[in-house]
């Protein structure tokens, strides 16, 4: 059962419209809120005139900094920002273009939209800074990286090692801002119930949403009930609540009416945080055989003055390749651009694009196959922490991928493979992602009829949580899948760390595994001590669940009979997963996931049009819980990586700080038609150091390194190295002049 490619158990509900998302809940007397956003990047609101808006048809309230109640402040001592208060429109200060400055609430959405345009705001604008390259001399050391990673690391003497290297690569890679943009926009329906609130919100972490709302309103979390059973994609943008949620709750509180607020697609860009822009310097020193002797990865990263966020860009560099002399460094530059947040594999997604591009540059410089280069630099132990790897298998991924992809057809010399007008190139890159495991509690209940219910405030953000927990419970309890029901996404359920950072599946499945163990023990003890049971007198620890029965050797009894006799209302048990910070294995081993990406691109020699004709990912993410949902996540991530390489990137207007491409017409993401042939496969794995289930997170592994594979394929096709992403036509075309045009049939 575990690992089978079971169809999504929530699929029928989703395709028949039975899965209800936050904004879709219907409530009598609901009011609609429209967020107003700032049109300057830095400064203050001087005057705000809401008189016309307040008189507009249907308007019930206009919230601004002048009338909004006092809110809690961010508690920087909380280790995860998602739990902190999120004060909104609480002052006249503007911190970035698109900062929320007000909310118009009306009887209909159209009335609220119309009235929002009647609010007149005068600003006192200050000069802002929006260009990372112009401010890199202002870089400073961040207070911390997420999850407690060290800000800087050093082993050996990098500078000496680099100076002495026979071959040196020293390059800068420039990455823009990236956005999450899930299908379901950030949205909230807040319903006052006396002094309490019911909050329907699309969130990745139910407990964080509740805590953040409570801290902002300065009330006890128990007074807020969060409901989020279906989430239409997160990608990091729903790890924390944003203006739409806080303003909906504040308006509901003020008006004592249900209030719905959703961000528009363009407002998501302005209000919800971005993956920060970065400038990354990678230095590789190697012998002529390709063996690295020195490795440095330094990242300069944007942050907003309002709240520091240090994208852990160089963390994956610390364990990927062997090199005796090495260093990593993170520095921040404050810009008047919206806050940085976790977006689609924070850290690795950006960092591996630079590191794996540099590795490709090294391979080219010494005329070595880039797969072979990576194999030659495989470390025996974690090269910075000096601990063993728990389960790595990167070599297998590279070798299997190369064989399956037909890597031998690649020419080491760029621009050497051609099909008519198309220049063909192959690229490879390694993938790695940290394996975070978080404290999570899951409950499991056996009903009187013997069916099971899994209970957790864990979320399913489209990744397949309902399905994997159903499979796992069915396996552990010896039940068919249709006898297991999973309830998620409510704050009255056992508390989890939700979905994000690839921690959702390993944390919740481990907790469920432990819950099932506890439940089995309870039932076994009940049967063993019950003279009416065929299992009377058996050893409780020697029992298993099988086919709806509790079994001890040759003896068995239907679980429903044990429950009916001893627990007529049903029986419930809980299990916990241990956070990686409290599990000694995570200190004693280097625990991560790995993989290898292969890409084939075709570049039109005349127009520089790039087509990705094939992508293959081979991954080692530990034990697979569901082959179908795992593959879906991985190919989704690989597609994101293709977008990073060729399409994605948001550009601020240097005059105003406004992002100029704020919708999906101009912020380009790949679609199905952009990739002709994509596949993800696994090498069999089981990481017993990660947890007893052998499971690790894989949600973000697919994006890690895939952008570099595509970029490296573009270089192999053309001989042109673009280091400022995305690789767009205007950057590539002028450099293609040296390549002979297709003149065969021209006079």
């Amino acid at each position: 059962m575990i690992g089978d490619a079971v169809n999504r158990v929530d699929g029928p509900a989703k395709v028949t419209g039975q899965a209800t998302y936050a904004y879709e809940y219907q409530e009598e007397d609901v009011l609609y809120g429209v967020v107003i956003t700032a049109t300057i990047a830095r400064g203050q609101i001087q005057t705000i005139d809401v008189s016309d808006a307040e008189q507009a048809p249907g308007v019930r309230a206009v919230l601004t900094h002048q009338n909004v109640p006092a809110q809690g402040v961010r508690d920087e001592s909380l280790p995860w920002a998602y739990w902190r208060a999120h004060p909104t429109i609480s002052s006249a200060e503007i911190h970035h273009y698109g900062d929320a400055v007000g909310l118009v609430v009306a009887t209909t959405l159209e009335q609220a939209q119309a009235a929002s345009r009647l609010v007149r705001i005068e600003y006192k604008a200050a000069a802002g800074h929006f260009d990372l390259r112009q401010r890199d001399d202002e870089a400073y050391v961040p207070a911390a990286l997420p999850a407690g990673f060290p800000v800087d690391t050093a082993v050996g003497d990098f500078e000496t090692g680099f100076d002495a290297a026979a071959c040196k690569i020293d390059q800068h890679y420039v990455l823009p801002w990236y956005f999450a943009q899930p299908m379901e926009p950030n949205a909230c329906l807040a319903i006052p119930q006396g002094e309490d609130f019911v909050v329907y919100v699309g969130t990745q972490i139910v407990d964080a949403a509740r805590a953040s709302i409570a801290a902002t309103l300065q009330i006890e979390p128990e007074r807020i009930r969060v409901i989020s059973p279906f989430v239409g994609g997160g990608f990091g943008s729903k790890l924390r609540v944003h203006a739409e949620t806080i303003l909906a709750v504040l308006a509901a509180q003020q008006l004592n009416r249900p209030v719905k607020v959703a961000l528009t697609r363009r407002q998501i860009v302005d209000v919800v945080g971005a993956r920060p822009a970065s400038i990354q310097r990678v230095r590789l020193g190697a012998g002529l055989d390709g063996r690295l002797t020195a490795l440095a990865h330094e990242a300069i990263i944007h942050t907003n003055p309002e709240e520091e966020f240090a994208d852990p860009i160089a963390v994956s560099t610390r364990s990927l390749y062997a090199a005796p002399h090495r260093m990593t460094r993170h520095r921040l530059v404050q810009l008047d651009v919206l806050d940085g947040e976790d977006v689609r594999a924070p850290g690795e997604a950006s960092g591996l694009l630079a590191l794996e591009s540099a590795m490709d540059e090294l391979a080219h410089a010494i005329d070595l196959d880039p797969v072979e280069l990576r194999l030659r630099n495989e470390p025996e132990r974690d090269p910075e922490r000096d601990v063993p790897f728990s389960e790595r298998r990167l070599v297998e991924c590279l070798e299997q991928g190369a064989a399956r992809f037909g890597w031998s057809r690649r020419r080491n010399r760029p621009a050497a493979l051609r099909d008519g007008r198309w220049l063909i190139g192959y690229g490879v890159a390694a993938a790695t992602r940290v394996q975070p495991q978080m404290a999570t509690t899951v409950g499991v209940r056996i009903e009187p009829d013997g069916s099971a219910v899994v209970l957790s405030d864990m979320t399913d953000i489209g990744t397949g949580t309902y399905t994997i927990l159903t499979q796992l419970a069915a396996e552990e309890l010896g039940l068919p899948i249709d006898r297991v029901r999973v309830e998620l996404g409510r704050s009255d359920l056992p508390r989890s760390m939700g979905s994000g950072g690839s921690w959702g599946a390993p944390s919740s499945s481990l907790a469920l595994h432990n819950a099932c163990q506890n439940l089995r023990q309870q039932l076994a003890r009940a049967a063993s001590s019950d003279a009416r049971s065929p299992l009377h007198g058996t050893e409780p620890t020697a029992t298993v669940f099988s086919d709806g029965h509790l079994v001890a050797g040759a003896l068995s009894e239907p679980v429903s009979d044990i429950v009916a006799r001893n627990h007529p209302a049903g029986i419930e048990a809980q299990g916990d997963s241990v956070a990686m910070f409290d599990d000694p294995n995570y200190a004693n081993f280097s625990i991560a996931t790995y993989g290898a990406h292969f890409a084939e691109v075709r570049v039109d020699a005349d127009t520089a049009e790039i087509r990705v004709s094939r992508m293959l990912g081979v991954f080692a993410p530990g034990r697979i819980l569901n082959a179908k949902t795992a593959r879906s996540q991985l190919i989704g991530g690989m597609t994101f990586g293709m977008g990073m390489a060729l399409l994605e990137g948001t550009v601020p207007d240097p005059r105003t700080g406004a992002f100029v491409n704020t919708d999906l017409a101009e912020y380009l993401v790949p679609v199905h038609a952009d990739i002709a042939d994509i596949d993800a496969i696994f090498v069999d794995g089981f990481d017993d150091k990660a947890n007893p289930l052998g499971v690790k997170g894989l949600g973000e592994l697919g994006i890690c390194g895939s952008a570099a594979a595509v970029a490296n394929a573009v270089f192999n096709a053309t001989g042109v190295r673009v280091r400022e992403f995305p690789i767009t036509l205007e950057k590539l075309l002028p450099a293609l002049r040296g390549i002979p045009a297709l003149n065969g049939n021209e006079p």
Binding site: D606, E730, R737, A741, N743, E746
Partner: protein, 49 residues
């Protein structure tokens, strides 16, 4: 020695003036014109044969 099609494309784009960041469009137009002329001739050759 530029091809006839290249020469035609060069002449067609002779008066085009770039503005820095859109300079590539002139080259793109030139290349596209040259390629289109070649494609059209190739199509004509195929239809004759």
């Amino acid at each position: 020695m530029p091809s006839t099609f290249q020469a035609a494309a060069d002449i067609a784009m002779e008066a085009a003036v770039g503005r820095g960041e859109n300079d590539f469009k002139i080259e793109l137009a030139r290349n596209t014109l040259r390629r289109t002329l070649a494609d059209v001739v190739a199509m004509a050759d195929r239809s004759v044969s």
